[in-house]
Amino acid sequence: MRARTDLGLVAVLALVACLVSAQLPTHLALVRAPIALPLVLALPGYAIVAALFRPSQLRGVEIVLLSIALSVVATVFAALLLAALGVRLTTAAWLDTLAAVTLVAAVRGTARGHARTLRLPRVRLSAAEVLALGGALVLLSGAGVLGLTPLAAPKGAQGTTALTILPLGEGVVELGVISDELHVTSYRVTLTVAGKRGPRFGPIILAPGARWSRVVSVGLGTPLVAATLSQAARPSATYASVALRCWCTGPGAPPA
């Protein structure tokens, strides 16, 4: 299998994809994905097509279609095979299997004389066509950037604030406020323990997306711990209320 044939190149690319997936961390996905993804989406199918058909039997469009479709099929069957063998679907297991499929098919294709000499496609573009494609790239980039940018909420959008309470263990609770209001908001939290007014917290001033939490000791055997949340601007109006009545949820809670 000589490297200057298409199947030689496919074999080399498959091995490089395996190596890159194993060595490059996920935060380098922009480098890793373009090199590794062909091993899932193109290379196995291309090699299988070469093993099955003579180059003259297929048109370029057919080769593209079958390369992608058979790669997807090879990936599905690789997953089923690994699952049937009880092998965990890790990156290495998956890519090694796909690389093996690609190499076996490439060798088979080469043995059948289906390898083609590599030639760069010669596409002639006029200056206007190059400009058109450049313009398209700019437009697509702009569309992507605009689409992925979180924009201001529409007028009338409703922000929310959540009040939470969780048991942390015998006689200890954690109170929390999650402010998803669209502007800086000031809060007060009032705690009630066994029907008696407990500590008050506030003003708690939170920016949009900010959180507040406080661990409070309420005493062993407390039957009811409740808390209410109000906004400092409207202290008489309860915005949210929570209550631990039986302490049977959450980590560390006693069994029911």
Partner: protein, 605 residues
């Protein structure tokens, strides 16, 4: 009718390949994508004008492509490239609507399966909302492989896979239509007309098993056509192997597509037998695919029958009831709640588009009947086109609407070819000035496409909604996302949640918890009943080991299309008593964000 030989464009000059008008088609499509992004930005910031820009966007994608494909000058490769560009650009319209994450009901279900495979390293996990989906792991297996190989997020992997599926179906349709019709022009136009399937722009572009299975099934059918025409036994065996391998992948990817493929193959064999004799029909391939589908159903996905039966029996029952006048007809152009929201102008375009589509189908049927009625595949595709037109009245019946809509994705493969044959026949008539023809075709295709979009998705849900917003330099998520995320972080994956339809999907994906919703078990009734908590409700909580109940008073929380976004204005609320009934002595109230409350209910067991 023109043939491949008659449509002979200049392909090479001096050994170099020219791209024809492809660069300009790409530029127009990119402008369309940019316009779609602008339309979404207008929509999610609450500005008007988004709808008009959206229609401009799809016109920029579809009309120039149709114009070029209607002409004679493009090469086969250029036509194939144009339909791929159009397919991908239309997919970009969907992605730009939801660029931050999946927000379609089925996507959220499959996204859970994908996360489960990535987390556990094994297939066939569980899914509390649609338990049948992990039994067909083809889609999620490939997406997981993409995520693993590329080191990209599960969402990016899903988007990449469906983009690849889009390339596959556009190329497969082009090649299939070209092989069946012998006309490049009909092939390109047919593939483009297929994008007018009402579900193509949004529903079929979601990360769901059918979105991968249908493209693969189309490749299998194309491989079958090539098998029939193979010049020698060896090539025939190779094409048969390709068809079988791809069909097997369809079987493990999506139930209905697999059964549709089996039905297609069997009917094709019978038609072939009737028209051309028993020899030469793909009996063996059809038989093997049928056995594979039956085997998978029996040994790996036995719950499929129980899952699909209510859909079909419900549709049949409702059709009978509606015909007898015992049930009301469905409001056309309505959202999921049954409210009519589509502007009158759009309704007119939709009806006009269907009329034009019907006329084009009739023209195509004329072509088939006059010269191709001995071709079993052509006849089968023409019959599918007629069947599609026959399913249109079913859209008036509530329970049959979904079945008709889903069937349309398969039957429209026949519509694409039949309509394109009709269009090409019209193009070759001398009655109208030739130069006007491609413009007319572009207008017709754009009209039919627009009609499909209007019929296929509620107008209020076409553009992006605020799911993540910027506030003071921080990015906020909508309240249901916040609740699900908090629940997962604070209470862990062992919690079992009962929630409204939309919210439950977020609990399985962003809380990584088990969530029940809908009518099996009947969480809908538990959450909507305003009576005090009944013994059967306690039994249900115990039986399914439900530890958390999330009540969401907003009506939109039960809307699986619209229930994932920030409320704009005061939301419509359901009766407070349905939530208040959980304020009991044995229940913890652990999360409250106003309309949305999470209760710890384990003591109620």
């Amino acid at each position: 009718m023109s043939t491949v030989a008659a449509e002979r464009p200049p392909q090479r000059a001096g050994g170099e390949r020219r791209v024809g008008a492809l660069a300009w088609i790409v530029l127009a499509a990119a402008a369309g994508v940019a316009a779609a992004s602008a339309a979404d930005a207008l929509s999610r910031t609450g500005h008007s004008g988004g709808s008009e820009v959206f229609w401009l966007a799809v016109a920029l994608i579809v009309a120039p492509a149709a114009y070029r494909l209607a002409g004679r000058r493009a090469s086969s490769a250029e036509r194939a490239a144009i339909v791929v560009v159009a397919g991908l650009a239309l997919y970009a319209v969907k992605i730009l609507r939801d660029p931050f994450g999946f927000t379609y009901a089925d996507e959220l279900v499959h996204f859970h399966n994908l996360q489960a495979i990535l987390g556990s390293g094994s297939l066939f996990g569980s899914n509390s909302i649609l338990p049948i989906t992990p039994r067909y792991p083809g889609l999620e297996a490939v997406a997981a492989a993409i995520a693993r190989a590329g080191g990209i997020s599960p969402f990016a992997a899903g988007v990449t896979l469906i983009a690849v599926a889009r390339i596959v179906i556009m190329l497969a349709l082009y090649l299939l239509y070209e092989a069946v019709s012998g006309s490049r022009r009909a092939a390109g136009l047919g593939a483009l007309v297929y994008t007018a399937t009402p579900t193509f722009l949004f529903f079929s572009a979601e990360f769901s098993y059918e979105s991968l299975a249908l493209p693969l099934a189309t490749v299998a059918v194309y491989a079958l056509v090539r098998w029939r025409r193979a010049p020698d036994a060896g090539t025939g065996r190779a094409w048969a192997a390709v068809a079988l391998a791809i069909a097997a992948a369809v079987v493990v990817t999506h139930h209905v597509t697999a059964y549709a493929l089996v039905a297609f193959l069997l009917v094709y064999c019978l038609l072939h037998w009737k028209l051309r004799g028993r020899r030469g029909a793909p009996w063996a391939i059809a038989g093997v695919v049928a056995v594979l589908a039956a085997g998978w159903l029996a040994f790996a996905a036995a719950g499929t029958v129980g899952y699909l039966r209510p859909v079909f029996t419900g549709a049949i029952d409702k059709v009978i009831q509606t015909l007898n006048g015992e049930a009301a007809t469905r409001v056309l152009f309505a959202n999921q709640g049954g409210a009519e929201q589509t502007p009158l102008a759009e309704q007119l375009v939709a009806v006009l588009g269907i009329l034009v589509l019907g006329l084009a189908v009739l023209a195509g049927l004329r072509v088939v009947w006059r010269g191709r009625r001995r071709n079993p595949l052509m006849l089968l595709l023409a019959a599918a086109a007629v069947a599609y037109m026959c399913t249109l009245p079913l859209r008036l019946i509530p329970a049959a609407w979904e079945t008709a809509s889903r069937a349309g994705e398969f039957l429209f493969i026949g519509v694409g070819l039949t309509v394109s044959l009709g269009i090409v026949w019209l193009l070759e008539r001398r009655a109208v000035e030739r130069r006007a023809h491609p413009v007319l075709v572009a207008l017709i295709v754009a009209l039919v496409f627009g009609s499909g979009v209007i019929a296929g998705w509620p107008s209020s849900e076409r553009l992006a909604q605020p799911v993540r917003v910027d506030a003071g330099g921080r990015t906020l998520s909508s309240p249901e996302y916040a609740a699900a995320t908090w629940s997962g972080q604070a209470l862990g994956p062992s919690a079992v949640v009962a929630a409204e339809d939309a919210d439950a999907r977020l609990f399985i994906d962003y809380g990584h918890q088990t969530a029940f919703t809908g009518i099996n078990p009947n969480i809908d009734l538990v959450l909507s009943s305003t009576q005090t908590l009944q013994p059967w409700e306690r039994q249900l909580l115990r039986r399914y080991r439900i530890t958390l109940v999330e009540t969401d008073l907003r009506d939109v929380s039960s809307d699986i299309i619209a229930g994932y976004f920030f409320d704009v204005g005061k939301p419509s609320l359901m009766a407070a008593a349905s939530a208040d009934k959980f304020d009991l002595r044995d229940v913890d109230r652990i999360y409250d964000s106003g309309n949305l409350v999470i209760y710890g209910v384990r003591r109620l067991w």
